[in-house]
Symmetry: D3
Subunit: 68 residues, 6 copies
């Protein structure tokens, strides 16, 4: 399935921290770039996410702010 | 000023395309990763964005979707 | 690829209107429910979207506001 | 009050799960479509949300991703 | 209708600029604070927005970034 | 660093409530306007946020919904 969110960057899960409802997943995009994604615990379970997993990060164009 | 959007990735502007109100800015994050940001024309003018500019992309944690 | 945006609803494209940079795509989810998605023109081209296409709408949990 | 978020779909609350700060509310839109909304606990209290409530889900156009 | 987006600030429309699909609406919140909202042209028409209108701005909690 | 999110409003932190992963920060913008921002606990720690802090709230144009 192709997605309209064109920003798609591959990475590897380095850490998954579950709250009561919300989880934080840290993803190493390589080259020293590590990002954090805030998703639901259900999503973590559905994707069966754990450290070492190869994943793709998807970001909508309107959600990238630019600083200069 | 530090920002609560912790995902901050440096890159270089490769293209700026203005619509009537909305502009698309393509940014090379290096390592073959190019993203597109959709911002207002006013923001392009305020930041005086043009190809070659060193910029930082900022992404809120709740705006990164994970695919596996 | 499974996605962490758990809200996924199937529908059919009824209309695609391109601006200079941003396009509006109207999608019939059935049962009288029609939604509008605002995406980039590049995404319309990449997905080769046109009326009649079977698609899936994806919505992040933090992007659904509730009214009562 | 009319809202600029044009995507408005009626549904019924089926479940409310509160975390320490963030709550997940599952809403049945009918026809087998159930979505999850992630809102603050304060919002749950303000709207006095509980299973069985008739509600409206509101989604901004830029927050609907399309997959094909 | 009460909304789960708890951030609701009243203001007055000062300017409406329509693109081909996307419109920018500038809103004076008083006290020298003017914000810009990017909505669809359809929303402008539906709400029949024009300068001088009393409106309410609604912002989801996850969409407010903090700088310090 | 200038940011493409043009909506920037100064305020003072009045309350910080941490969940297991997500924190709610209430910010007084003056003139009786108090908003709530939902950010990660890591962001609270990085910015070292506590009541009384002078901060700036940043809101992307596409994240302001208008009601009339």
């Amino acid at each position: 399935m192709k997605l309209s969110a064109l920003n798609q960057i591959k990475g590897k899960v380095v850490d998954v921290k579950k709250g009561v409802t919300t989880a934080h997943v840290r993803i190493d995009l390589g080259h020293g770039i590590v990002v954090t994604s805030s998703i639901t615990n259900e999503a973590v379970d559905l994707l069966n996410l754990s450290p070492g997993d190869e994943v793709t990060t998807l970001i909508n164009e309107s959600n990238i702010i630019i600083g200069k």
